[in-house]
Amino acid sequence: MRSILELTALELGRRIKKKEIGVEEAAKTALAQMRVLEPELNCYVTVDERMVLDQAQKVQKKIDDGELTGPLAGVPAAIKDNLCIEGLPATCSSRILENFMPSYTAEAVVRLLDGGAVILGKTNMDEFAMGSTTETSAFGATKNPWNPEHVPGGSSGGSCGAVAANECFYALGSDTGGSIRQPSSFCGVTGIKPTYGTVSRYGLIAYGSSLDQIGPVGKNVEDCTAVLELISSYDKKDSTSIARRDYDFTSALVDDVRGMRIGIPKDYLGAGLDGQVKEAILKAAGVLEKKGALVEEFDLSLTEYAIPAYYVIASAEASSNLSRFDGVKYGFRAKEYEGLHNMYKRSRSEGFGPEVKRRIMLGSFVLSSGYYDAYYLKALKTKALIKQAFDRAFKHFDVILGPTAPSTAPKLGQSLCDPLKMYLGDIYTISVNLAGLPAMSVPCGKDSQGLPIGVQLIGDCFQEKNIIRAGYAYECSRSYEQPELAVRGAERDQTMYGETGTPKGSMAMENKWTEESEGAGGMGEAAYAAAKRGAGIRITASPDGTGTGGAA
């Protein structure tokens, strides 16, 4: 029999509904998987086991009472650490927010909780979502579950890694220039970036506000679509939220692409694209063609201008958004300073990492008087032209198909030394954010190193259903592949854990993880957090001081 961990989110939801699997059992199994794999992968920055189990029990009761009937009720999920959840730190993987405890919960997460989600923890990311590898995290890099010598991609590398490693059943990420799709591609999972304005950004710590969107990461298109349907809403608390006519995304889960017009931009297949990636993408297009889609290549144009325009706009917005981190209201304050202005400067300089500082500097420059027209306005005009190019393309096509990233996951340590080169890796994802379009990455094979490749499906604004239909039809032609490591963890977990999923004996990894069950009494009444920071996992002391310290 398959381990619980190998179920998709919807399969697990169905089995919870039929009372074949308990909510607590599912949560404990995921926590057990984390204990086995987290020392190697570092997908999470904060896990609070007691909170997870409390929540699991509450959700189970609501399911039993018939209050929760949704398809994802009881299914454990992971949340990227730039989304606020009351009661859990939100760090954005930055020192400057290390001790920030949000006083409210992001709308997207509220909607998940209303649907019966059990939140397992907060996932690692590039600091403030700035990066493509999850290596700019102040708390250590996340490793790719397919090969821990490689990066998981970024910035939602923790969320995508956790899904691939079966350390959760689905996750939320955020996508400003490809931060859901690219790590989904690198980790062999599915991720959707919805049309701008579809998911409320309330409670998402802003990076580039005109580009940021929250979206789901899952094992397949079906799971992602169900999650997307749950988190999408018109929200007055987000002034850019859009009231859509139709939120019924799951009705597009039909294995039928007959007559669907699919365009492959020639610009996406040219120089810079890895040969094996290209082959896999064209093969995926071939599958859809065989199923009756009309596939043709076309010239999208302007592709090479997306990255420079993006870095001007995103950096400009970041410099403005991140001005709120000043050491006054929350976050880190420098220990030594002379006067107010010096306090701001010292706190920011000590709290932000190099990539964040780089983008704040660039953003401040392009917005400064004398340069505003030449750079910022020019980039906004370029954005308008890119949008027009997509508008033209969508007169002819229902879906644009191409690679998600030019290559598979690079090795750790290879990207940060050359930021410009790292930025070029976002070439196929970035224009989608500039034009506000929905897009998803679906696994479509592996390269000779055994690393996953993702195919990107882009739709016109508000046409999520087209990419869902194409993605689902493609997915029906192949089975989900998981990394060996994810199965290994699950197997170990079955031999090491009893039927109830309760850890047998001393399972905590040398102080690195707080134990639940019998040991919990010793932790005091107040909720304790097993917050991991960097290479080790630090167990934060409970407020009454009885918490045990771990590796820092």
């Binding site: 001790n99 405890m101 006083s103 701008y196 005109s210 007055k236 002034s239 850019t240 859009i242 201008y305 990255i307 420079p308 870095y311 001007v312 410099s319 001005s323 000043d326 050491g327 006054v328 209201k329 929350y330 976050g331 880190f332 304050r333 300073y337 006067g339 107010l340 202005h341 010096n342 306090m343 701001y344 400067k345 010292r346 920011r348 300089s349 932000f352 500082k357 780089r358 704040i360 500097m361 660039l362 953003g363 401040s364 420059f365 400064s368 750079y375 020019k378 980039a379 906004l380 005009k381 370029t382 954005k383 308008a384 032209l385 949008k387 930021p419 410009l420 500039l434 506000g436 604004c461």
Partner: protein, 97 residues
Amino acid sequence: MANAISRETIEYVGILAKLELSPEEKEAARKDMERMLDYIDKLNELDTSQAEPMSHVFPVNNVFREDVVTNGNEREKILKNAPEQKAGAFKVPKTVE
């Protein structure tokens, strides 16, 4: 076209960005920015004379609401995150002599 960023410009941008950079960081930032701007200058190849600057992809309008308080008093919760606080307020270094 190679961009040359002067040390004075980096000083000025540092003031705008409210960042205190070490001499090494300043030099690195100067080179980074020159390289990025050289790359961004690629946009100059494009004729954008007919394009309107697009800040939002959809026509968004200001969303107005009645000016009424809808959230409760969360002072305690909010102040918990303050690096320093005094008498129910955020405490900052002396700003007026």
